[in-house]
Structure formats: C-alpha cells, structure tokens
C-alpha cells in the first residue's frame, strides 16, 4: 500500500499561465522510451529553450516542489509521461486554477495532489514565491488549504481523490484486484461479453 499523503510542504515554482498542455510539459519526442526514467530532465524542455527566464530554469526555484499554475493545466494528451516528468523533476504538488481531467487522474494515481485555488490566491502565491523563493508552501489535504507565510487560502479537490491520497489508497490496482468475483459477475451480465448468446 502507498503511503498516506496529508500534506506537501516545500518551496514553490511560479508558472501562472493558462492552458499549459501536456505537449509543453513533455514534448512528444521524449515519449520515445520504454520506462519513465530520465523524463525529469526534459520537463518543459521546449518552453525552456525558447524562454531564458522560464521558472524551471531559474536557479531561485531549482529546489521547488509545489508548482503554482493557471487555468486548464495539463490539457491535451493522456500521456502519464507529463506528471511523471514533473514528479521526477521534483514537483510533489500542483496548485492551479483548474486541471484537465486525464492529467488530474494521472497525478492522483502517482500520489501528486493537484488542487484548485482562486486566480487571486494563485497570483498572491506566485508573488510571494517571487519575493522570497525560500518561502515554503504547504498544501494541506486534511484542511483543504494552501498556506504560504501569512497567506492561507482555500483549495478544492474532488473528494474521491482527496480520500484516496489521505488514506494512501491512490494506487487503485490493489483495490481493483480485490473485486475479482464481482468483475466476473458483471461481465456475465453484459450482452457483448457473451457474444449476444
């Protein structure tokens, strides 16, 4: 069983942009691999090449583990390589205005809390990180807050994901395997599983 995830505390990385898609998080050419090892080096590779001041290349945020972003983070492809690359880069939680759903699900199954905050709070968090990159942020799943210095803001996360992370049951495979009898029963009741016999 995975470990319980109640809180993530660490310094931040500010990247408050909207519609950051998974091709930007990990360009497709890095999906030419048979393991997820090494993906961390290529997170935001092309954005970093084109923007010298990209936060992922900024020494001030090099040890950041809480990513602060904007609306519709992780849209596009279903590639789990995207959260895998963030995780291997060192990101342990993402706070954004909203998430694309497949990306959100992939984060949860890797034990990365992906929580939503208001735009105003995200901008305050980003400003606080910019002002003092050594400031720690805490994403607290028990109280559904993100705090940073004097600021404590509410965050939201679907209850099922929150429960799974808090109880350490976000690796669903073990749970899914438990229902093998029910799986067999359900299959028998679905007409096409029995070739419409």
């Amino acid at each position: 069983m995975s470990s319980e995830i109640r809180k993530v505390t660490g310094t931040g990385v500010p990247l408050v942009l909207d519609d950051i898609d998974t091709d930007r998080i990990i360009p497709a050419r890095y999906l030419r691999c048979v393991t997820f090892d090494g993906l961390g080096d290529h997170a935001f590779e092309d954005d970093r090449q084109q923007d010298e001041s990209h936060p992922f290349d900024d020494a001030r945020f090099a040890s950041g583990s809480v990513l602060v972003s904007g609306r519709n983070f992780g849209c596009g492809s279903s590639r789990e390589h995207a959260p895998q690359s963030l995780l291997r880069w060192g990101i342990q939680a993402v706070v954004a205005e909203s998430f694309a759903e497949i990306f959100f699900g992939n984060c949860t199954s890797l034990g990365i809390p992906a929580v939503c905050a208001s735009r105003a709070d995200l901008e305050k968090l980003a400003a606080a990180i910019e002002t003092d990159p050594s400031t720690e942020l805490t994403v607290d799943l028990e109280n559904c807050t993100v705090s940073c210095g004097d600021l404590t803001a509410e965050v939201t996360i679907p209850e099922s994901a929150r429960t799974a992370l808090l109880t350490g049951q976000y690796d669903f495979l073990t749970q899914l395997l438990e229902a093998s009898e029910q799986i067999a029963t359900t299959g028998k009741a679905i007409p096409y599983f029995t070739s419409f016999a």
């Binding site: 942009l17 497709a28 030419r32 519709n72 909203s98 992939n106 669903f172 799986i183 070739s195 419409f196």
Partner: protein
C-alpha cells in the same frame, strides 16, 4: 429502473462493478486498445506484480505513433522507436495479446483501426492510453483516454476506478452549408464552449446535423471532444451505425448480429431523457473554420479576421500573426492530411476531389497519410493516390505521422502547417517553434493548392465567387 435514461448512464450502470471506498465507480471495460507509446511501462507494472492480462481477447494492440510513414524497414533508423517496437512485440507475445503489427494489413492508427475492424461497437466501454479514444464514442460507446497506470489497471483487472461525469447534450440543428464539414462542426463547438468548457462532462452530440452524418463524420466530431475538455463524447446508435457495422471482421454475425443491433438501438438515449446541461448551436452559424492560435479553441471562420484581445497576444506572438488580419490568404509552408481526426477514406475522397486537376503551390511541402493500411488499400483501388501524387502530394504509409511527430515526419523551424489533425499546441508537429493551422481535409487541400489559407467554398462553387 428509471425511464428517460440517457445512453451514457445506461452504459455506465450496466458496466458498474461496485462503488469503491473512495466513492468512485469500479467500471468494467469492454474493449482495451493498446499502442506502443503508452503501454510498455504498464506491462512492466504487471511483471513487477506478477499479474497476467485478465481478458486478452478484449485487448488488441497496434502500432501507430512512432512508425515511419516512408521507410518502414526494420530495424527502424530511430533506435528509440525500434526499442519501442520490440517492446510491444515482446509484451504482446508474452501476455497473449493480439498485435496488428506493420506486417498485418489491418494495422493503422488505433482510432481508425478499431471502428473499421468492427471492434468498436455501441453500448461498450472502450479505453486506450490515448486521449483521442473519444473517437469511438461515434458508435454510442463510452470511450475514454487513460494514463499508463490505468492501462495497467485494465490489463490486470479489465476495470478502472472512475468518477461519473455529468452529461451535457450539445445539439446542432439545421443545414450545414456547402464546404462545411464535420471538422468545422467540432472546431466550432470547441470555439464556442472553450478548451475547458467540457471539464466534468461527457458530451452527447444530438440534433439533425449528427443524425445525417456518416459514421466517419461522427468519428471526426467525437475525436475532438477531448480538445473541448470533455471526458468523452458520443452519438446515439441508429440505423447508420448498424449499417456500418454489418459485415465488419469483428462484428457479430448472423442471428447474433440481429440481436446485437436490437440491443444497440435500445442503448440509445430514451426520448426526453434527462441531461445535466444542454447547449444548442445553429448549423447555419458554422463556416469553414481555421485555428489561428496555440489551442484548438482559438479559431475563426475563414471569412473572419483574427481577434486582438490582450489574452490573445501570447498566441498571436507565437504564431507571428497580427490581431485584426484576415486568416484567408495566410501563407503556408506545409500541408498535412492525416491523423485520427481526418485520415479515413471519406476524408481522402473529399480532398482528392478538390485536388484533381490542380498542383500543389510552389514551395509547399504536402503529404497525405492514410489512417490505416485498409484506408490506403481502398484509396489506391480508387486511384486517389495517383490524384494526390500527380498534384505534388507525397503519398505515405499509415501512421500518426505529423499529427504529433514522434516519428520522422516533422515541421522544420518556423514552418506554418495547414493540418487536418487535432492539436495546434506549441511544438506539437515536431519543431518547437513550428506553427499549426487546424482545418478540414478539404480546406488543407485548398490551402495546399493556393499556398495560403483559402476558402474551400470558392473551389466548390466557382460560379458564386
């Protein structure tokens, strides 16, 4: 049993194994499609846990993302791609999964192959480690893109842990104008509802526009549901669906087919079934549509000019376009007809019809990549390959090609590509600074001939210009 149930809820309820401690549903999966990019790590997870594939006959694999579309001799020149090919071959062999490999004439883009083989059927739950799995919703199935950990879950248990989305009916009624295709309908929906408009929803596409569409057109629409943020999209099965499936290799046969057809029709949304939301669009408002930005909602009708708002600036800068400029007349460098959105035989026929008797404009690199070996074979029987080749298009082998450029087909530098694919994200087509204009295959053909974005309606109806 509640009356007035929509298809989504009927299918979901039928496939529900149980409610999980997290509150999610453990959902039975009817068809699991696999490809070479998102599966190797999943098979490794099975090995590490000493698990087998639970329902190998409900699992089928093909290769599409990394295959070259010109020289397919093995080993591939790209050794990383070769390693992935070897991995899927080994994994399918070891775990007893059927693989439609390059030497099998059923190989192709996974979302083209499933339907054409009759694997995709109404009332099913279908998953694949690929976001464009939504394509299969065209048959009235719940079709979801999933991550690699979830691929492992389905391999090992034939189930997934999922939260039930709400269902929005997106109705499009009226007559589509000449030169307005399924691609324009889906681009228009994404434009009006936004890239995030569908988050939390499954889309039911309803209304007479979809009812009149062929299965291939319906696939184009459902394919891009994910670009609008929806978890999936579907169209209710009807006689068009049944006629398409009759006689396909994996369709039921004889009496079983008649039983299946009856069941499929019964799975359609009940008359007056309830929805969490309804959105209506008038078909007359839809023009041939072209994206100008870096997400698929950033589009205009071909007769419109680009917006110039503050929030548009990042995209305009990346594309090197000006707010207020018309999209028509925008020069292109590359024309690409292909991808799981638009690489089926009807797409190629429409494009070929426009191309016939014309030449690709000087300086434009143009290519046609059929979605599957079956599409390729059909097109060659009809002589479409000659039409394209004579006009100056390259005629390629089946694969994902330049839609995501994980293979040798890529944009170079700042090239501007008129593309029938589904994503215009920064760097999507293989050059980090390359630029993509999404449009219908017919519009790509028109752009290839003119060397710039053109209005396909002027080629279809020259008398009106």
């Amino acid at each position: 049993m509640s009356e007035r149930k929509n298809l989504f809820n009927k299918v979901w309820d039928l496939h529900t194994v149980r409610e999980m401690p997290s509150g999610q549903t453990q959902l039975m999966i009817g068809l699991h499609l696999i490809h070479e990019v998102t599966s190797p790590q999943a098979f490794q997870m099975l090995r590490e846990r000493e698990l087998r594939v639970k329902y190998p006959d409900r699992t089928i694999a093909t290769v599409d993302h990394i295959v070259p579309t010109d020289n397919q001799a093995r080993p591939f020149q790209d050794l990383l791609a070769e390693e992935m090919m070897s991995a899927i071959e080994k994994n399918c062999d070891e775990f007893g999964v059927r693989l439609l490999n390059l030497d099998d004439n059923r190989q192709g883009i996974v979302h083209v192959v499933g339907p054409e083989q009759g694997l995709t059927q109404p009332g099913m739950t279908i998953v694949c480690g690929d976001s464009h799995t939504s394509t299969h919703g065209a048959f009235g199935s719940i079709a979801l893109g999933i991550g690699t950990s979830q691929v492992a879950h389905v391999l090992a248990t034939q189930t997934l842990a999922l939260s039930r989305p709400r269902v929005r009916k997106v109705e499009v009624n009226g007559e589509l104008g000449s030169g307005v295709y399924a691609k324009d309908v889906t681009l228009h929906i994404i434009r009006v509802l936004g890239t995030q408009g569908g988050v939390g929803f499954a889309y039911e596409y309803a209304g007479d526009v979809f009812e009149r569409m062929t299965m291939e057109e319906r696939m184009t629409v459902c394919n891009m549901s994910i670009e609008g943020g929806a978890r999936c999209g579907y169209i209710n099965p009807d006689q068009t669906t049944i006629d398409y499936l009759r006689g396909r290799p994996f369709s039921p046969e004889g009496e079983a087919f008649e039983k299946a057809a009856q069941w499929w029709l019964n799975m359609a949304s009940d008359v007056d079934s309830e929805f969490d939301d309804v959105y209506q669009i008038d078909a007359a408002d839809i023009e041939p549509t072209v994206t100008w930005g870096i997400n698929p909602a950033q589009s205009v009708g071909v007769s419109e000019s680009l917006p110039a708002g503050e929030s548009d600036q990042e995209a305009l800068d990346f594309m090197d376009l000006q707010g207020g400029q018309p999209i028509k007349g925008q020069k292109i460098d590359v024309a690409f007809i292909g991808s799981c959105t638009n690489s089926r035989i009807s797409d190629l026929r429409e494009a070929a019809e426009l191309v016939k008797g014309h030449r690709v404009a000087e300086g434009v690199r143009a290519m046609v990549v059929p979605g599957s070996q079956q599409v390729l074979q059909q097109a060659e029987e009809e002589g479409l390959h000659t039409v394209f080749s004579d006009a100056g298009f390259e005629w390629r082998a089946a694969g994902c090609s330049m839609c995501l450029a994980m293979n040798p087909d890529k944009l170079q530098g700042r090239e501007m590509c008129a593309s029938s694919s589904n994503r215009n994200f920064k760097g999507r087509q293989g050059s980090p600074t390359g630029r993509t204009l999404l449009m219908s295959p017919a519009m790509v053909a028109a752009a290839a001939i003119h060397g710039e974005v053109a209005d396909v309606r002027e080629m279809l109806e020259p008398a009106h210009t």
